[in-house]
């Protein structure tokens, strides 16, 4: 089990925004979280990361309960995050953006699915190797997305949370992100993929969970979700 979430509830002040979220992901499983804007996908990821204060419930990474731990300890336990908009540290170089995630990774929780280092990240993304010394703030959207994924990999994660990695990117790049997700799956890492682009997501995912108003309302194998009635009803497509 790479990620187990039980009864995750998130409150923003007085408003209850995520209700009893349950998720379980096997090793090297890709689970896509689908839903319209405002359905609670991003907030669910933030809750799993421990980045929103009013959160309750259980989060386990590779079998260890991290519910009581702050965000940086969850990261050390094997949780990596690729935020929406491919957020990077714009005032740091590409190399520094990668180095920052390489420090203090824990080796205590068993062997990580794959050992990542800068060389392997540059093998995966040869374009980044050329830009090593550039500031991340000057990269294109696609390059920043590679960097955000590379940074996530540098921490040797057991599970990666990806928040709409295809948002605002050209169709060619969307395709390459789809291939990338499949490639990463091969290395044994679990991927929780929050997406609006259901076509790409259902192509690469093993399972799909549909969110509406802060709740998971349907969960099914990805193949079954393609062209399903649920897809039409919930995403309006």
């Amino acid at each position: 089990m790479s990620l187990l979430v039980e009864k995750l509830n998130v409150h923003y002040g007085k408003s209850h925004v995520i209700f009893d979220l349950d998720l379980s992901m096997a090793d090297s499983e890709v689970l896509t979280l689908l839903g319209r804007n405002g359905a609670g996908k991003t907030t669910s990821l933030l809750g799993i990361l421990g980045l929103v204060p009013g959160t309750s419930g259980t989060v386990s990474i590779a079998g260890s309960d991290v519910s009581a731990l702050p965000t940086y300890r969850r990261s050390q336990a094997g949780l990596a995050y690729v935020p929406s908009g491919a957020r990077c540290f714009p005032n740091l170089t590409v190399l520094e953006n990668l180095d920052i995630a390489a420090q203090r990774r824990s080796s205590s929780n068993g062997a990580a699915p794959a050992r990542w280092n800068k060389e392997r990240v540059f093998e995966l993304f040869p374009a980044l190797a050329e830009l090593k010394a550039n500031l991340a703030g000057g990269l294109s959207g696609g390059e920043r997305q590679m960097l955000a994924v590379g940074r996530a990999l540098m921490s040797n994660p057991k599970v990666i949370l990806m928040d709409e990695p295809t948002e605002g990117l050209a169709p060619v790049i969307v395709q390459s992100i789809g291939r990338l997700v499949q490639q990463l799956k091969q290395t044994g890492v679990g991927i929780l993929l929050a997406e609006q682009n259901h076509q790409m997501a259902l192509k690469v995912a093993d399972r799909a969970a549909f969110m509406e108003k802060g709740r998971i309302v349907e969960e099914m194998p990805a193949t079954q979700a393609v062209n399903s009635e649920v897809l039409h009803r919930i995403l309006g497509v």
């Binding site: 965000t71 957020r87 921490s155």
Partner: protein, 295 residues
């Protein structure tokens, strides 16, 4: 006024700038990473100066006293900084700025009271260490070796901060925290502890400034607000959060003060000139010469 005088006032201005830069760099570093304006920064400078006086007068002989103070005072102000950051600032991060201002302003009152209680309201003076307590001829005038020493220390501090920020893992993490502390925590960095460390570096610089200034000015309970006003003026001129800005702002303010005080007709207005410069910069570039406009 001949060339020799001009050079002398220029150097004197740089020596004023030296201390102001060290103090402002601490204020600016803390603001850059923590987004907190530490009103108590001047108090830590004052505490640095009083610790310096205490070490020199009571704990060590005159030869080692100053050098011991140079180590001990920044250490003490760094420890006070850690306590302040953990118990006063941590609870109010992410809340409105007013709470941070009020919290650190309350500290200035507490520290001012404590200093008066412990040391009394007397004005004290310290002489420069024997090794530096002389003058060298420059253009036929004598110039204090200690003031040259101040300039040299400021250059070392500037270089040290540059190397720390740009050549070390800690510095890289600090720069990352300046742009996105939340993202930094998701990469496995303990941002909570990083903030404490940054605040300690900032308050250590305030303490260092206090030690360095103590042989050149009186050590008294009013020095906290005096330096804070200058540090704010420098921050506004140079741009809060920018080290280069602190450096350039400190040099501008140091030179204005030095040349302002040099002529009897302007001496009364020297401090007003600093604020005139501040107003001009605020009008043309509200975020300061080297600051970045808030998005």
């Amino acid at each position: 006024m001949d060339v020799g005088n001009l050079v002398l006032f220029f150097l004197a201005g740089l020596s004023i700038a030296a201390v102001l830069f060290i103090v402002t760099a601490g204020l600016s570093l803390v603001f850059g990473a923590l987004r907190v304006i530490n009103m108590a920064h001047g108090s830590l400078y004052m505490i640095g100066a009083f610790v310096s006086w205490f070490v020199i007068v009571h704990l060590a002989n005159a030869l080692f006293g100053f050098w011991a103070a140079l180590l001990v005072a920044p250490l003490i102000t760094a420890i006070i900084g850690a306590v302040v950051e953990i118990f006063v600032l941590k609870p109010v991060y992410g809340k409105e700025h007013l709470l941070q201002l009020l919290g650190t302003y309350a500290l200035t009152l507490i520290f001012a009271g404590l200093v008066r209680k412990v040391f009394g309201a007397d004005v004290r003076s310290i002489s420069a260490p024997a090794a530096l307590n002389s003058s060298v001829p420059i253009f036929g005038h004598g110039f204090s070796v200690y003031q040259l020493f101040l300039i040299a220390v400021a250059v070392l501090v500037a270089a040290g901060l540059y190397l720390l920020l740009n050549r070390t893992g800690l510095g890289r993490n600090i720069r990352a925290a300046i742009s996105d502390p939340q993202l930094l925590s998701t990469t496995g960095v303990n941002v909570t502890r990083l903030f404490t460390i940054v605040f300690m570096i900032g308050t250590a610089l305030a303490g260092l400034g206090g030690v360095l200034v103590s042989p050149t000015s009186s050590v008294d309970p009013g020095m906290d607000s005096n330096v804070l006003i200058n540090a704010f003026a420098i921050s506004v001129i140079g741009g809060l959060g920018s080290l280069v800005g602190s450096l350039v702002g400190a040099v501008i303010v140091g030179l204005i003060l030095s040349f302002g005080f040099a002529y009897p007709p302007t001496a009364h207005y020297a401090i007003a000139f600093v604020f005139a410069a501040m107003v001009i910069v605020l009008t043309i570039r509200p975020w300061g010469l080297f600051g970045r406009a808030e998005q």
